[in-house]
Each structure stands twice: as structure tokens, then as C-alpha cells.
């Protein structure tokens, strides 16, 4: 490919960068992975947030990465163990708890007979629709109006798969795909708590409320992404860092070279194609192609530079919606938190604190006007229940994803971080009395912290907001939706690409395929 030492330089050792590197190395490419931080992981890592207390730094559950990917990269062999699998979701509100198991035919406790039945039917149908969408997530988006047989076949194939759904399901899919989750759930259920919990899954990590059209799509996406695996929420032993460690192992053992504390300053462009990178240290590294797992805005405007792109494209990049809406909380606890609704039993599952549709919508209202939710919604995990190693003996860790925390907040996050932390602790205290004074240390990561610490501009874990207008053939934007940048030799492999973020790895693998296809 080129005279330089490397065929490919991969920017960023997050799960997508490492996945891409692993696939490239496996097929004989000389790969160098450059990571700014001291260790691999990016937003899917494990960090010590207080002496002796460790937690998954951003994502804290593994449920989107397809089983076949784990298999292909033999991550188990590279040391990936699960501390818990098929974790149930437990919706909490005051003294009531709805336990939603991850079964094919879930029987939810404490639910009216009608709702219980409705939920079975709803789950069955949503799973069928999700299954039909899965191939869409795993394919490289085709180009429209292109004469290439590959693009046409892909489109035909996807069309055919949808047709196979059968008339009733296809009609339902076409009806609900662009609908708002509020209406969908109202069509099926009575229980406010059940509706709240399901709506929470739809809006988690997005810039949508339950009444925003398109929120059913984000829910389907969540279901489709992991397929049967998606049903199984898993917690890697040692936190998400264990996953990226395994990925790093997989890449290394396939021959990829990894360098840490090596922040890339810019991409070298010689005669209109990417030829390597310059590190912040000033060191030049040359390669046949450059693959960036950084978000599109960083990649195009900071690393590449607008001067190499045409004005229309740059405008589009500037207009990408990339603002995070979600914060991450880590608590070091003296003792196991006692949740009233769980009758003080240990929380072996994923706790969702989103009491009703109205509550979710109101939490969103605040965010719309640049305020953090006065009554935030939480996805709470006590990882130490199944993985005691994360804390000193007898102590515990609480890890929570908090919605909504807008990236741009009126008055700025400085000073308000404490208020927000206090608000969240109040919410937790209400559900688990006594939790508050068992807190030994707390860490709250706002989208701005996520931006600075993980170098994701906007601090959105999808890099580019996941919405219908930024999906598939227009993700991250038209002209770069096939993992190829408009500049020859530069590729994207991050969450900003199709199919998007969450710890999935498919973007990295698809990008690798494109690069290999290119070379071939």
C-alpha cells in the first residue's frame, strides 16, 4: 500500500477504534492505534473515581455488542468474563417495584392482568420488528441513486427483509417508526410506572422526550442493536474496562501496535489524500490510511481542517447535532443501599427511576430550556452486588446514568454541578433512605466533563445525536455515511457513524470492511 511503516493508523483506542484495529490486523494490515489517554477504553473504560473504588467510566452495561462480534474477536479467550448476564430491569417508584425480566415471554410482577398480557404481546411484536431492523444496523449504508450493484443489492435486500415481516407487522413498523413513544405506550398500557420505564429506555441518551416523534425509533434501535443479546443486559467482570482490555488484547495479538499518551494533533494531507498524522508532541507518523474513531466534528474540523473540505460539507458538519443530554454519577458507599421498594433486598439488576410518562416529559421540559431536570431520571446500578472487586471489602459502588443534563446549561456547569449532584442524591435518598449519609465520595460527569475527559465534542455518547434525521444513509452526514471521508485515505469508525453509539462495536467493524474493500 505505501512505503511507510504502517498501512493504517487508528485514532483512539475506544471500543470502536480497537474493534476496527482488530479486524484490520486480523486481515494482515500493519496497524498502529494511537490513544491520547494512558490506557485503552475511551468512554467504555473502568476508572478509579475514589481510592479503592472503581466504576465503568461512562457506559456501565454491555447489551448492544452483537454476540457474533464477541465470538469473531474471541473476547472470552482474551479475558472477557461477565459478572452478570440477562439482568432484569426493575422500575421503582416509591414502594412499588416492577420487575421486568429479560425473557422471551416476560412475566412482569405487580402488574394488572391486562397490562401483563398487553406487555407480552407488545414485547413479542417489538422483538419481531427489531429483528427485521437488525440487518439494517449491521450493513454498510448504501448510496442512493448509485449504479453500483452492491448498493442496489443492499437496498433490495433490506427491502426484501422488511417484506418478510408480513403485512400486519410491516404496516405496524411503517406506522410506529416515526411515532412518539408516548402515544405508542398509551395505546398498549395503563400502568404509569411501566410506561415511564419503557419511555425512559426510548429517550435515554437522546435529545427527545416521550412526546417527540421519533422516540419509538430510538426504542426499536435499542432492541434491534443487540438482537437476542440486546435482551441480555450484561455487566463485564471488572467493569466495561474489561471489555476494552479484551479488545486491546485481540487487536495486539493480531499484530496491531498500541501507543498510549499519544494525542493526535492533526491528520497529514499530501496531494489530497491522508498520509498520516502529527502527534501533539510534534512527532510525524505516516501510513497508507488514517481511521478516526473520534467524533466527526473533531475529525473533520480539528484533526483534518476545513481547508481540505468543501464549504457545504463543512456547514453540514458544523450543524451536526452532537450535544449530550446525559450525565454519569459514581458514588462510593459505606454499605449496600437499601431500596424501600425492594424490601431492602440487594438490587440485582438495572434499576430505572422514571415514575411516569408525565415525569419523563417534564424532566425533558427543563432540558429544552437549558436547565438540568429538577426531577432527574436515573438508571441505577450497584455493580458491587455481583462484582465486589470494584470496592474495598464490605463497601459498595453505585453507578447511575442521569437524564437530562444538557451540555449547554444556562449559567454554565461550574457551580451548578454541585446543585445537580444534590438534586440527584435527593432523588436517590427518596428511594433508598439512608443512602445519602453512606456516601463517602461522589463523582458527577456532566456532558462537558465527558467532552473534556473523553475528547467527545458535545459529550454525547452517540457522538452524533441518534435521531431519524441523522441515521443510516445520512449518518453522520451525507457524503461520509460509508465510513469514507471526502478526503482519500481518511476513514471514520466511531460512534458518529452508522449504526451509532452505545457499546456496540459495529461501526468499527463496518469501517474495517470498507477499508479492506478499498484496498482490495
Amino acid at each position: 500500500m505505501s512505503g511507510s511503516r504502517y498501512d493504517c493508523i487508528v485514532i483512539g483506542a475506544g471500543h470502536n477504534g480497537l474493534t476496527c484495529a482488530a479486524y484490520l490486523a486480523r486481515s494482515g494490515r500493519r496497524v498502529l492505534v494511537l490513544e491520547a489517554a494512558e490506557q485503552a477504553g475511551g468512554a467504555a473504560g473502568t476508572r478509579e473515581f475514589a481510592p479503592g473504588f472503581r466504576a465503568s467510566s461512562c457506559a456501565h452495561l454491555l447489551h448492544l455488542m452483537p454476540g457474533w462480534l464477541l465470538e469473531e474477536l474471541r473476547l472470552a479467550r482474551h479475558g472477557l468474563k461477565m459478572a452478570a448476564e440477562r439482568m432484569p430491569t426493575i422500575a421503582l417508584s416509591g414502594t412499588t417495584a416492577l420487575r421486568i425480566p429479560m425473557d422471551r415471554d416476560p412475566a412482569v410482577q405487580n402488574l394488572a392482568a391486562t397490562d401483563a398480557q398487553a406487555f407480552r404481546e407488545y414485547t413479542a411484536r417489538m422483538r419481531r420488528l427489531a429483528a427485521a431492523l437488525r440487518p439494517l444496523l449491521e450493513t454498510v449504508p448504501p448510496r442512493l441513486g448509485s449504479r453500483a450493484w452492491r448498493d442496489r443489492l443492499t437496498l433490495l435486500g433490506l427491502g426484501a427483509k422488511l417484506r418478510l415481516l408480513g403485512r400486519a407487522d410491516l404496516r405496524e413498523l411503517l406506522r410506529i417508526a416515526g411515532m412518539c413513544v408516548h402515544d405508542l405506550l398509551d395505546e398498549h398500557f395503563e400502568s404509569p410506572l411501566l410506561k415511564g420505564a419503557l419511555a425512559f429506555d426510548a429517550v435515554l441518551g437522546t435529545n427527545l422526550g416521550p412526546r417527540s416523534p421519533g422516540s419509538v425509533f430510538t426504542l426499536l434501535y435499542r432492541l434491534a442493536a443487540g438482537g437476542e443479546a440486546a435482551a441480555s443486559l450484561a455487566q463485564p467482570d471488572g467493569g466495561l474496562g474489561a471489555l476494552t482490555e479484551a479488545l486491546a488484547q485481540a487487536a495486539a495479538s493480531a499484530g496491531a501496535e498500541l501507543r498510549f499518551s499519544a494525542a493526535v494533533a492533526r491528520v497529514i494531507v499530501t496531494d489530497d489524500s491522508a498520509a498520516g498524522v502529527v502527534l501533539e508532541s510534534g512527532e510525524r507518523l505516516e501510513a497508507g490510511c488514517v481511521v478516526s474513531s473520534a467524533d466527526p466534528r473533531t475529525t473533520f474540523l480539528r484533526l483534518l481542517g476545513a481547508e481540505h473540505l468543501d464549504a457545504g460539507f463543512v456547514r453540514r458538519v458544523a450543524h451536526l447535532r452532537t450535544m449530550g443530554m446525559t450525565a454519569k454519577l459514581h458514588l462510593a458507599l459505606e454499605r449496600m443501599p437499601q431500596f424501600t421498594a425492594l424490601a431492602d433486598a440487594a438490587p440485582e439488576g438495572r434499576l430505572v427511576l422514571a415514575p411516569s410518562l408525565a415525569a419523563v416529559e417534564r424532566a425533558f421540559n427543563d432540558a429544552k430550556y437549558g436547565k438540568f431536570s429538577a426531577a432527574p431520571l436515573l438508571e441505577v446500578l450497584v455493580p458491587t452486588t455481583v462484582d465486589p472487586g470494584l470496592a474495598p471489602p464490605g463497601r459498595h459502588v453505585l453507578s447511575a446514568v442521569v437524564q437530562y443534563a444538557p451540555y449547554r446549561i444556562a449559567g454554565g456547569w461550574e457551580g451548578q454541578r454541585e446543585q445537580f449532584l444534590d438534586t440527584i442524591l435527593q432523588t436517590l435518598e427518596a428511594h433508598a433512605p439512608g443512602l445519602r449519609d453512606s456516601v463517602r465520595a461522589a463523582e458527577l460527569l456532566t456532558p462537558q466533563d465527558i467532552e473534556t475527559q473523553f475528547r467527545i465534542s458535545g459529550g454525547n455518547w452517540h457522538h452524533v445525536e441518534l435521531a431519524l434525521d441523522q441515521f443510516f444513509m445520512v449518518r453522520p452526514l451525507a457524503g461520509a455515511a460509508q465510513y469514507r471521508a471526502p478526503v482519500r485515505g481518511l476513514f471514520l469508525c466511531g460512534a458518529g457513524c452508522h449504526p451509532g453509539g452505545g457499546v456496540m462495536g459495529v461501526a468499527g467493524r463496518n469501517a474495517a470492511r470498507q477499508i479492506l474493500a478499498q484496498a482490495a
Binding site: 404496516r171 416515526g178 412518539c180 402515544d183 427527545l208 430550556y369 435521531a467 431519524l468 434525521d469
Partner: protein, 541 residues
């Protein structure tokens, strides 16, 4: 104004069973009736009110004044229909008006002119950058309109069907879409999913410019400017065209009733008849076939075909015996979203109100006056609706047609139409009462008075209409002006019910022709015309 309907009254003596009964003399019902009658069918239109027009009416509710008391501008009425039915010959005069003005709370304003340079200068007053962006915006919107316009007068295909007709139509759609070229295809895909706020952010920086444009994205809709899909609603209003000029608006001389009066006249001319005070209670069906209708009071009118101008919920949940319909279908009809979100004030004024923001004699006064500051204000107005209250600071679309059309008020006096977004059909704190209606009216009048000193003193009479009132009087479920939300799940082949988007119903001989069907609401007439085409096609088989 009742002339036409009186003349119509005689039609009922016409002996013999009609070929087709059209339930409801709204604009779509009349358009459908006209096309059926012109094809030689004997058509009987039945209207439950004492007057025709549905939501396109001119009413004399205060002496000397004529109110367009529901719909208030003519913009979407398809030119193809105006020409095909030769409406001008039947008395329809559409008076274009130019410009408008958006009034801000802080006394500032954004004036709108048809003159492109004047408009650019005005926008530049707020932001030079936006003035430049506006050309790009207008061009792109025009492109999207051009894409959608040909689809308005076609019945959408059923994407799940293998019938030749559906496949042919799908192929047409594919070609039509493909014709855009790659770059534009992506743009179009994105556009349909965008929220109005996000779309405008891609062009403009000035709050007032965005706030002004966003107004059209919420009219009649239970969405906020930040809801994905609201960009389409904006387009839906942009599609308005008079004699082919996209985006232009006009008054029907004599009020919106003039449109339905002209349609009625056209119907008479082709031998159809209209009967007022004839409320249909039930649509008769026998083993899956429409047999005619029964009026309140028991009179039966048999007919081979029944065409319902009523919305889909009213048609199938009130007028048809559910036992005659598939369970699944009934469930879908119940799920069809028809949400009242708009109110209306019709005000008789003793003189022309003064708006200090608008320079004296400016043409803007004759156009739409909007009251809004920013997208945030619109979004907050929407939040009120979600909570079951009318907006404390509502979005207003104000028109004073009497400046152009003197026929609507006595000399020197003026009629003001005020469209209000948002106003819920059902309030969180119990049903509407006269007190609540009055205080809703005060909220609106106060926000007008903020911009027009002494406005209250000019008021001679005000008709305050909540969605509940509109439902009671016009028969629109929840008073929704579009007979159903214009969201993805209720557009094209999903409108009104997946699998029944082609104006037919599970009951043979029963058709829909109202705004519940593609392409939706606004005084457009397209649903009526499309329904008629479908019916005539079925008859030929």
C-alpha cells in the same frame, strides 16, 4: 350567504334515489360531490347545519359583520381544482395579499414584503447573515414543495400490497424520488424527520426570524417547534399556492364561505343537490355494503354510495355500527390521533387598530400579524398545552381582511380574525365553562393589547371559540382543524389507517373524502378530488 344553500334546498325534491350521498357540505365534501356529479352521478349532499361550508364559512354573527369564523385564509386550495370546477365563474374571487409582520414583546418587529429586496433589507435589520441565508432557505423550501406537490393529487400506494396499481404507484414514487438526484435525496430524507427548530438553526441566527418562520410549523398541530416532524408541518403551510405562486396567500372575497358557496354553485350547475338541516345519524350497511343513511328523526335515504366528509373517528365510531367493521380496524380508528390544539377569536372592531411597531400605511398591516418572540416562546406555549392548559403566552396569527375586502364589515369598521395556538380541547381542571372560555379570550385579547394600545376600546363584539366549540358546531372531532394530526404515523399511506389510505373503507360503497385522508387538512380540496377519482375508478370496474 345562504342563497346557494337555499337554492340547494330545492334539490332535495329531486325524486329518485341518489347514486351517491355525501355526508357533510364542507369544502372536501363539495369538491368530491362536484366531481361525481360532473361524471353523471346523481349526488345528494347532506349537511347537518342550517348552512353549508363546514369549516370554510362566512357567518353573520354580529350585525353588519361577516366572520370567517373557522378557516381564515385561502392558500392551499389546489389551483387544479379551482380551474377544473371553474370556481371563478361561480363567484369565487381570491384577493392576494402581501406581506405581514411579526410583533415582538419588546416592541420590535419583523416586517414581511413580497418584494424580495425589501424583505432582505428588513431581515438584514435583524441579521445580515440571516438576510443572506434567507435566499438559501426559500430555495430549499421551494425544492421540497416541488417534490411534494405532485403527490397531493394522487392516492398513496399501499407499500405492503402486491396489487399492480400499488406497485405502479410505488414505482412512480421511487422514480419521483430518484429524480431528485443523490444529494437532494439525502436532503429530502433528512427534511422529513427534522424538527422545525433544528431546520431553522441550519439557516438563521436571529431569534425573531426563526420565531416568525416557526409559527407555520405549529398551526393546528399538537407539536412544538422542537418536535421532529414539525418541519413538514411548516412545509404543509408553505405549499399554499394561488395561481401557481408557491407560498402566496389570499382572501376569498366575502370570507371563506365564498369558497364553499362557489363550490355549491358549481355543484348545482352540474345537477347535484344539497340539503341543509339534514343531520346524518347512521350510515346504513347490510352485509358489508353501504345502503344509504338514516337522518336524525328516522328518515331513511337509500343510496348506492356513501361518501363521508366527516373525520375518520366520527365516521366509523359514531355513524357506522362497529359490528360491521373488523375489530382491528376499529382499534386503529380509535388510535387515530385527532387533537384539538387551536382556538379562534373573531372580533368586530369599531375602527382599525393601531400597532405602533408597524409604520403607518405599510402593506404589512394587510397581511398576517404574528405575535411571537422566539422559538422558545412557541415551545413554552406547547408545554402549556401538554399540561392541559391554554398557552399563557399563545402564538397568534391575526388578520384584518376588511382592509382589502370591504364586504365583510360596515364602512370604517373592521373584522379581525385571530387564530390561537395552543388551546386544548379538554382542560386538565375539568371541562370548558363560559368563565373559562371568557378568561381564555382575555388571555388572547391582552396579548394583542400589549402590541396595540387602546385595542380593547375598539371591540364591539368578540366570538371566542375553543376546540370544544368548534367540535360542537362544525363536527370536527376535538375541533382539530386537520381532521387528524399531521405526524409521520398519520401521513401518506398511514393516513388515516394503514391499508385504508385510498379513500376506501372495509365497507363496500363507503368512502372517506375529508381531511382525515391524504394529503390532509387545510382548505385544499385535494382529499375530495382524490376520493372522487377513486370512486369513479371503482365504478368503472
Amino acid at each position: 350567504m345562504f342563497r346557494a344553500s337555499k337554492r340547494a334546498g330545492r334539490g332535495q325534491d329531486g325524486r329518485g334515489r341518489p347514486d351517491a350521498i355525501v355526508v357533510g357540505a364542507g369544502h372536501n365534501g363539495l369538491v368530491a360531490a362536484c366531481f361525481l356529479a360532473r361524471a353523471g352521478l346523481e349526488v345528494q349532499v347532506l349537511e347537518r347545519n342550517a348552512y353549508i361550508g363546514g369549516a370554510a364559512v362566512s357567518r353573520r354573527l354580529y350585525d353588519g359583520f361577516t366572520y370567517s369564523n373557522c378557516s381564515y385564509v385561502c392558500s392551499l386550495l389546489r389551483t387544479e381544482i379551482i380551474r377544473a370546477l371553474d370556481l371563478p365563474a361561480h363567484g369565487l374571487q381570491i384577493i392576494p395579499y402581501e406581506g405581514g409582520c411579526t410583533l415582538m414583546r419588546n416592541g420590535g418587529h419583523l416586517a414581511l414584503y413580497d418584494n424580495h429586496d425589501a424583505l432582505r433589507r428588513e431581515i438584514a435589520r435583524h441579521s445580515q447573515r440571516d438576510a443572506e441565508a434567507y435566499d438559501r432557505f426559500a430555495r430549499d423550501m421551494l425544492r421540497h414543495c416541488r417534490f411534494i406537490k405532485p403527490l397531493l393529487l394522487r392516492a398513496p400506494p399501499d407499500p405492503t400490497s402486491f396489487k399492480p396499481a400499488d406497485l405502479r404507484e410505488l414505482l412512480y414514487l421511487g422514480r419521483h424520488f430518484g429524480g431528485l438526484g443523490e444529494a437532494q435525496m439525502y436532503e429530502t430524507l433528512r427534511f422529513w424527520m427534522l424538527s422545525c427548530a433544528d431546520m431553522l438553526d441550519e439557516y438563521f441566527e436571529s431569534e425573531i426570524v426563526k420565531g416568525h418562520l416557526a409559527g407555520s410549523s405549529i398551526i393546528g398541530t399538537a407539536l412544538g417547534p422542537r418536535s421532529p416532524g414539525s418541519a413538514y408541518v411548516l412545509l404543509h403551510h408553505y405549499m399554499g399556492s394561488i395561481d401557481g405562486t408557491v407560498g402566496a396567500w389570499g382572501f376569498a372575497r366575502g370570507g371563506m364561505g365564498a369558497i364553499t358557496q362557489a363550490l355549491a354553485a358549481a355543484l348545482m350547475a352540474s345537477g347535484g343537490s344539497i340539503r341543509c338541516d339534514a343531520p346524518v345519524e347512521r350510515i346504513l350497511t347490510r352485509n358489508g355494503r353501504a345502503m344509504g343513511v338514516v337522518l336524525e328523526g328516522g328518515e331513511e335515504i337509500p343510496a348506492k354510495l356513501v361518501v363521508s366528509n366527516m373525520d375518520v373517528r366520527r365516521t366509523f365510531l359514531k355513524a357506522v355500527d362497529p359490528a360491521e367493521l373488523p375489530e382491528e380496524f376499529v382499534r386503529r380508528v380509535r388510535q387515530f390521533k385527532i387533537r384539538g390544539s387551536s382556538g379562534k377569536l373573531n372580533i368586530a372592531l369599531d375602527g382599525l387598530p393601531r400597532f405602533p411597531a408597524i409604520p403607518a400605511g405599510s402593506p404589512c398591516m394587510r397581511g398576517d400579524l404574528h405575535v411571537t418572540d422566539s422559538i422558545e416562546m412557541l415551545e413554552r406555549a406547547y408545554d402549556d398545552w401538554k399540561e392541559g392548559r391554554w398557552s399563557q403566552r399563545p402564538y397568534l396569527d391575526i388578520l384584518i381582511p376588511t382592509q382589502i375586502d370591504p364586504t365583510m364589515a360596515p364602512v370604517g369598521k373592521h373584522y379581525m380574525s385571530v387564530f390561537v395556538q395552543y388551546c386544548p380541547c379538554a382542560l386538565a381542571d375539568g371541562p370548558w365553562t363560559d368563565e373559562k372560555r371568557a378568561s381564555f379570550g382575555r388571555t388572547v385579547i391582552d396579548s394583542i393589547a400589549e402590541h396595540s394600545p387602546g385595542f380593547r376600546d375598539l371591540i364591539l363584539h368578540a366570538e371566542i371559540r375553543t376546540p370544544a366549540d368548534i367540535e360542537r358546531e362544525v363536527g370536527l372531532t376535538e375541533g382539530n382543524i386537520f381532521q387528524g394530526e399531521l405526524t409521520f404515523d398519520q401521513l401518506l399511506f398511514n393516513r388515516p389507517i394503514p391499508g385504508y389510505a385510498q379513500y376506501r373503507s372495509p365497507i363496500r360503497g363507503l368512502y372517506l373524502c375529508g381531511s382525515s385522508t391524504h394529503p390532509g387538512g387545510g382548505v385544499m380540496g385535494a382529499p375530495g378530488a382524490n376520493a372522487a377519482r377513486t370512486i369513479l375508478g371503482d365504478l368503472r370496474r
